[in-house]
Amino acid sequence: MASLALKDVHKSYGDTLVLDRVSLEVAARELIAFLGPSGSGKSTLLRIIAGLETADGGEVWLEGRRIDALPPGDRGVAMVFQHYALYPHMTVRENMAFGLRNAGVPKPEIDARIAQAAHVLEIEAQLEKKPGQMSGGQRQRVAIGRAIVKQPKLFLLDEPLSNLDAALRTRTRVELAQLRQRVDAALIMVTHDQAEAMTLADRMVVLNERRIQQVGTPMDIYARPANAFVARFVGSPAMTLAPATVMPGNDRFARVRLAGGAEVMTRVPRNGLVDGAPVSLGLRPEHVSLAPAEAATLQAEVILVERLGDRTFVYACLADGLEMIAQDIGSSAVRVGDRVGLRIDGDAAHLFEADGTGRHADAAT
């Protein structure tokens, strides 16, 4: 059974529509990441689920109960805020107890839940401290603790890691992964950071321009982006989209011609593609490699070299001005200004139709 269900949720601020008929189902104990550019409505959607914002229309269901008309405190959801929003004048213990007391939970039960959460999060020593006396990482745990003790059916986290430094971020990421093993609830987190989303989430929801662009497992979204936006947004460096046209032919798979004249044979089934139709050829860096002139598909000039140690990204400019990113070995000797040959792995290429719809290499064969 779905834990959370959104049906046709929409929301405007004044004249600007920020969410356009969003529907989504989240399974029990699933971890979902909302990913999308700034202003795409991630926070708004999260806040509608929490009850901090009222949708203009649509339904929100949690564990079989319609909750969109309930006040936030009665919905059975808990939220971890980006800036933690701990009550500054209360100790850690009081922070965690506040919501339980409001809900009329008996005192011994409150104490037991706090003790348990403090143990799990290793903040037992800090229980009598105030938030102002703690580090950012510790406050983050208290914020999580405050959510855990409520034993919600759904956790909502708005950019939970964005306030932490790089080292703490990695550690907290691991802790979040462990957290979900321990709690019997679904989890939704908003993030800007696709690495975070890909490592943590069971499924990702990519939002842009008021809508859900794609919902799927991280691998699914990486390997089979539903449209050009998702393709460019997920993956780093971004996928190259090269303008091309579909060549006539009778093959099972589509062959395309790049603007510069080179032809690429893909493994994208050609049925449904119109001969001569303009498309974009989508190439991830790992599917473009450097090659000697005679084995190369294209010739290009190197304009930037990004060395990551284990591999090297080579940004190259084609004769017609198109920029393409290739991946080379870590010890690559390429330098800016070199003329290089690029070999395209057509088997892994994607095609995007003029309206952005993605078509992918046939996995079956």
């Binding site: 009850g51 901090l52 914002e53 009222t54 006040p71």
Partner: protein
């Protein structure tokens, strides 16, 4: 935050109602009542007779009122500029984080917390020729003490000095707060540009605290236009009305002659004067900001 039905929307009104009720009944209602009363010949005991602008016409022709307005403006002129200049100088000198500066700040502010009665009591026995400190000093030097509180030429300066002594603290604090807003690196940059003290003050400090300066001048002007206790207690407005201020005149008309209507009209005239100063301040601040 959210719409939550009628009861929740009215909840907010319940929070503001207690204040609004008092505000309406004890401030706004009397304000409107006053405008009404000023068109009447009215006494303190309830008699009312509509005379339109009669009270205002009387006021325009009343030499006592002319004198009171003259005295008040003169007092404002004798108090506001020296007070502002002194306060600015002291603030410049005391704008540093040392213990000594803190002690001096405490001293210069201490008189501000005293009530007008205490201030005038203190100054009465500085100024009065029969028992004041200045008389004692003059005596020691073998001179005649000056009759500060009874000489036509000396009463106004005497009240001005008392007032400056009393009011110095607040403008100093305002200037200090203004000076703290000026970022230190601007001064460092000026020092690197070899700007002298005066140049730094003239071209960096002064423009930076322009708003505070304006605020001080306007607040003080509005305050001194309402000068009352010092005149009433030190000199009783004398001699011969030579130190009667507008508010003192209002007080005398209302509680000495019981002519409430006329007193209220005088109060409305003062209100208009204060409003002009306040609007002027608003205009100056916004205009300068548009320009800069």
């Amino acid at each position: 935050m959210k719409s939550g039905g009628a009861p929740r929307r009215l909840e907010g009104l319940a929070f503001v109602a207690p204040f609004l009720l008092l505000y309406g009944v004890v401030l706004i209602w009397p304000l409107l009542m006053g405008i009404g009363i000023s068109f009447h010949r009215a006494d303190l005991f309830g008699a009312r007779e509509w005379i339109g602008l009669g009270n205002y016409a009387t006021a325009l022709a009343d030499p006592v009122v002319h004198q009171a307005i003259g005295n008040t403006l003169l007092l404002a002129l004798l108090i506001v500029p020296p007070l502002t200049a002194l306060a600015l100088l002291l603030a410049l000198a005391l704008n540093r984080a040392t213990r000594g500066a803190a002690v001096f700040r405490g001293i210069f502010f201490s008189s501000s917390v005293l009530s007008v009665t205490i201030v005038t009591l203190i100054w009465r026995f500085i100024l009065t020729p029969d028992a004041g400190l200045l008389a004692v000093a003059a005596d020691a030097l073998g001179r005649e003490p000056l009759p500060f509180l009874s000489d036509q030429a000396l009463v106004i300066p005497a009240i001005a000095i008392t007032t400056i002594w009393w009011s110095l603290g607040f403008p100093i604090m305002l200037f200090l707060a203004g000076l703290q807003q000026v970022p230190a690196d601007v001064y460092e940059a000026a020092a690197l540009d070899r700007a002298g003290r005066w140049t730094t003050f003239r071209h960096i400090t002064l423009p930076a605290i322009r708003r505070t300066l304006l605020l001080v001048v306007m607040l003080q002007t509005v305050g001194q236009l309402q000068l009352f206790g010092q005149a009433q207690l030190l000199t009783g407005g004398g001699p011969g009305g030579g130190s009667r201020t507008i508010v003192l005149a209002i007080f005398e008309v209302a509680f000495g002659r019981w002519e409430l209507g006329y007193a209220t009209a005088l109060a409305e005239i003062l209100f208009a004067m204060i409003l002009v100063v306040t609007l002027l301040q608003y205009w100056l601040v916004t205009r300068r900001e548009d320009a800069g």
